[in-house]
Amino acid sequence: MTDTTMAAEPIKLTRKDFASDQEPRWCPGCGDYSILAQTQKVMPDFGVPKENIVFVSGIGCSGRFPYYMNTYGFHSIHGRAPTLATGLKIARPDLMVWVVTGDGDALSIGGNHILHAMRKNVDIRVVMFNNRIYGLTKGQASPTSEFGQKTKSTPVGSVDYPVHPLMIALAAEASFVARTVDTQVDHIQKVMERAGFHRGSAFVEVLQNCLIFNDGAHRAFTDREVREDRMLVLEHGKPMLFGKNRDMGLRLNGLRPEVVRIGEDGITEADILVHDEASEDPTIHNMLARIYWPEFPVPIGVIRNVPRPTLDELIEGQIRDAVGRRGKGDIQQLLGGGDTWTVE
């Protein structure tokens, strides 16, 4: 996002300004409602006029998201939202562009596009709703469905191993990688706000519940009663502590992560890893993207956040350099360039 997206005068928009006149049509109780509400809530914080904001989506339940945002919106085709967002951003560096997608859309049919939008550091925020199932097509296994999971398309259990979405984002060199949960309202807001202010390719996994086809997919660690013990809320510069009493933590034992309890076996807070989201070295970030319940608490928050020039900045920069070196090109001269001859 370049400075031109900012309003000249501070504008005071509210959540309501970002709600379109369309009635959301997700199933009652769907986690998508919460993500929509929190997104609408944080949008005014960016100070970007709503006409300069574009939501692009693919196919699936998440694909409906743009219809409910009173910004510009493009509901495209399955898996291809990052491609449209990339072209839009190249043509219009002044716009703030979001991509809303799901686990099937982003990681199956659109896997290649996610990979390249991230590595090229396209200045887009990809918000992936991960319900670990195909919802809109009524319940087939998705690339994040569990091994052995019984679904409509896998009646005796899935034989596919699931992917780890955040590891893919990290492997693709996304410059911002985060995870949040649909039921944790404050946390979604925080993460969406961080993603919104990030410049470059941001990948946000939202663990989202599909009430109809995969209810409770994340419940084992997101339920109110257990979540403090089973999720690790990451904060930059803070030790990786968790648990109701914040007495459990993550440390490295050699090259392996290990859950330890403060006070046991002489463990002190000094033994606990301190989160550094800005570390260029991705080793710890990869570890955080990989560990999962039940072996480990599930990390949520911003895992990685590093500055890198964005695709649109680099393209504009090359144009600026070329104009600086040769002057602004004259198209008429270009047409008449090369070896020419004149017929009288």
């Binding site: 072209g87 043509a91 219009r92 393209i315 104009v323 090369g338 001859w341």
Partner: protein
């Protein structure tokens, strides 16, 4: 006409000469041909060229599949094709001789590098004995020149390996040809300086090779004449030589200027379209943005995204890539945004013959999508015309808010001809669609004439709206599953494209307005058809030529033209795709002439087919 020039040989004047350079794909035949072409063009000849190269970058040296050729026809009169058969063949090795000599006209000049006719090379080409010695070439004037040896001698003393020295022998051959056809070496010497200025030894080697070849022509006594092809009488103006791909790229750049919008070219490398990317990626100081996408789908997606943002979103590909782009093209139809998709057709199906030409993607362009999905289709007829048709593609896309498929092919893309440089001021104004000034705004409210919807881009305050691939409610543009609305919208999308017929030039006829035979063509067959028709007309035959540049919709008078002749012949480098459409659209019992060999028609082939039809009546 024969005059004596220089000290020895007479100079003969010819109207037209066709030369083919053939050698190993590593021998630099494309470069040699291009240099001769530039020189002939700058001299003022009308020219037409046909590069013919294998898909393999370096097939095994000396092998038959590794032969690369470049044919140029240059003339003092208006010509339309690179010539049916070469008058002169330059063969750098036995394999090149074997694969090309059958095309040489009887009595034609055959210039060979005799050094390359070694037993191993002869064996690789399948010769039991040297054709230079066994009398099998006596139908031709054979000039066996030890090019490698003479060239190596000329480069003696330079700090180069013998392999490097050998790489310059093509310029020796070029020098010989420059002498034989009385051409100045200056354009090529200038090119050497520009290209190799930073590497003085390489520059010097190429200079010496070229000059040694020229000097050899001057001093040897094997040639009995030199030939001059005077300049052609082209329309006044400034000319340059362009390939179809170059002209396509320039046309799109010009269109962006005429539309006063940025051009974004998003593409994925594919033969024979990649040169468009190479060219446009060098135009940064002109503000042109290029994007090499991760795949064909991403390329058209990014182009459509750029169009959504208000730019000229352009993508380019060839057949296999076109297949992958189909779904996104359907989205472009649904969201009714301007988009141009360049398909440089090549021989298919599947990977087919990537470097060879074909016209077999017309039905794909027309029908290759799910649903009722109309797009406009245009096709340039010659390399230079690629410029005009690229501007035309954008004119249609922008004015009518529709995706346009632009069907070029490998022959147009790599072939060259002189192009009269236009003045931007003479080209159409392409500043059409805007946000509209009305107090009310609906995303699918249509223009009364064209049925185009408004192009309101993100950043326009107060007009935030959503578009997408789901069916739209007429006018309002919200999602709709209403049965009658879907029927109405399907008709509207079809009608919008059909109305383009009111906005394009009528189909022109070359020849009598009615009569025995009309030859109807499209795309790169133009030159061969026109030349055949000229020959037939010169002999008094009742034959006309009409060439379609707009394939969807057709010009409004197309049916009337077709019905004015007893027989309609449709030559195509496919198995009858335009013919199928013509028959279903106009109920005209058109006759096909279809050859799919990966190469252009010869004039004589079309002429013979026409004569056969005329004789049958």
């Amino acid at each position: 006409m024969t005059t004596t020039k220089g000290h020895e040989v007479p100079v003969r004047e010819l109207d037209r000469v066709t030369i083919r350079f053939a050698g190993d794909s590593g021998d630099g035949m494309q470069l040699t041909g291009t240099q001769f072409t530039r020189t002939a063009a700058v001299f003022g000849n009308d020219i037409s060229t046909l590069p013919d190269y294998p898909a393999e970058i370096r097939a095994p040296a000396g092998s038959l599949p590794g032969v690369s050729g470049f044919q140029i026809s240059f003339s003092s009169t208006d010509i339309h094709t690179p010539g049916d058969a070469p008058d002169v063949l330059v063969a750098m090795n036995p394999a090149a001789l074997r694969t090309n000599v059958k095309d040489l006209v009887p009595g034609g000049a055959l210039i060979v590098n005799s050094d390359a006719f070694t037993p191993p090379n002869l064996a690789k080409a399948g010769y039991a004995a040297s054709p230079l010695a066994d009398g099998s070439l006596k139908a031709y004037s054979v000039f066996a020149i030890p090019i490698s040896t003479l060239n190596a001698r000329a480069l003696e003393g330079l700090d180069m390996t013998s392999k490097q020295v050998d790489l310059t022998k093509n310029f020796f051959a070029l020098g010989v040809m420059f002498w034989l056809f009385e051409r100045s070496m200056d354009p090529t010497l200038r090119w050497i300086e520009e290209k190799f200025g930073g590497r003085p030894v390489v520059a010097e080697a190429n200079r010496r090779a070229l000059q040694a070849g020229y000097a050899f022509g001057e001093t040897t006594e094997i040639f009995h004449a030199r030939y001059i092809v005077p300049a052609a009488h082209l329309a006044p103006g400034t000319y340059r030589n362009v390939t179809g791909n170059e002209a396509t790229a320039l046309g799109c750049v010009a269109a962006a200027t005429l539309a006063d919008r940025p051009l974004v070219y998003a593409t994925y490398p594919i033969t024979p379209a990649s040169d468009i990317l190479h060219q446009l990626s060098g135009y940064k100081s002109y503000g042109i943005k290029t994007f090499q996408a991760e795949d064909e789908i991403a390329a058209i997606g990014a182009a459509l995204g750029a169009s959504y943002g208000g730019a000229l979103g352009l993508t380019g590909t060839s057949g296999p890539g076109m297949a992958l782009k189909a779904e996104m093209l359907g989205l472009a139809v649904m969201v009714e945004l301007p988009l141009v998709v360049v398909n440089v057709q090549r021989a298919g199906p599947s990977t087919g013959m990537p470097t060879k030409t074909e016209q077999s993607d017309l039905l794909q362009a027309l029908y290759g999508r799910n649903g009722e999905s109309p797009v406009a289709i245009v096709a340039p007829a010659s390399p230079a015309e690629c410029f005009d048709m690229a501007v035309e593609a954008w004119r249609i896309a922008l004015k009518h808010m529709t995706p346009v498929v632009y069907l070029s092919d490998a022959f147009l893309a790599n072939g060259t001809e002189p192009w009269r440089v236009p003045d931007l001021a003479d080209l159409p104004d392409l500043r059409f669609a805007g946000p509209g000034d009305g107090a009310t705004f609906y995303p699918y409210q249509r223009d009364g004439t064209t049925l185009a919807r408004p192009w309101v881009v993100p950043g326009t305050p107060g007009r935030e709206h959503r578009i997408g691939g789901l069916e739209k409610l007429d006018v309002l543009g919200t999602v709709s599953y209403d049965p009658d609305n879907h029927h109405r919208m399907s008709l509207l999308r079809a009608e919008k494209v059909a109305r383009i017929a009111d906005d394009i030039a009528p189909l022109e006829v070359f020849g009598p307005p009615d009569g025995e035979l009309l030859i109807l063509g499209w795309g790169s067959t133009y030159g061969a058809i026109r030349s055949a028709v000229e020959r037939l007309q010169a002999r008094g035959a009742s034959v006309a030529h009409a060439h379609l540049r707009h394939l969807n919709p057709f010009p409004a008078n197309t049916g009337d033209v077709l019905r004015s002749y007893r027989t309609v012949l449709v030559p195509e480098i496919n198995l009858g795709q335009l013919r199928t459409v013509i028959r279903s659209e106009f109920l005209v019992d058109a006759v096909g002439f279809n050859l799919v060999r990966g190469k252009p028609f010869q004039i004589s082939e079309i002429q013979m087919k026409a004569e056969q039809l005329l004789g049958d009546q």
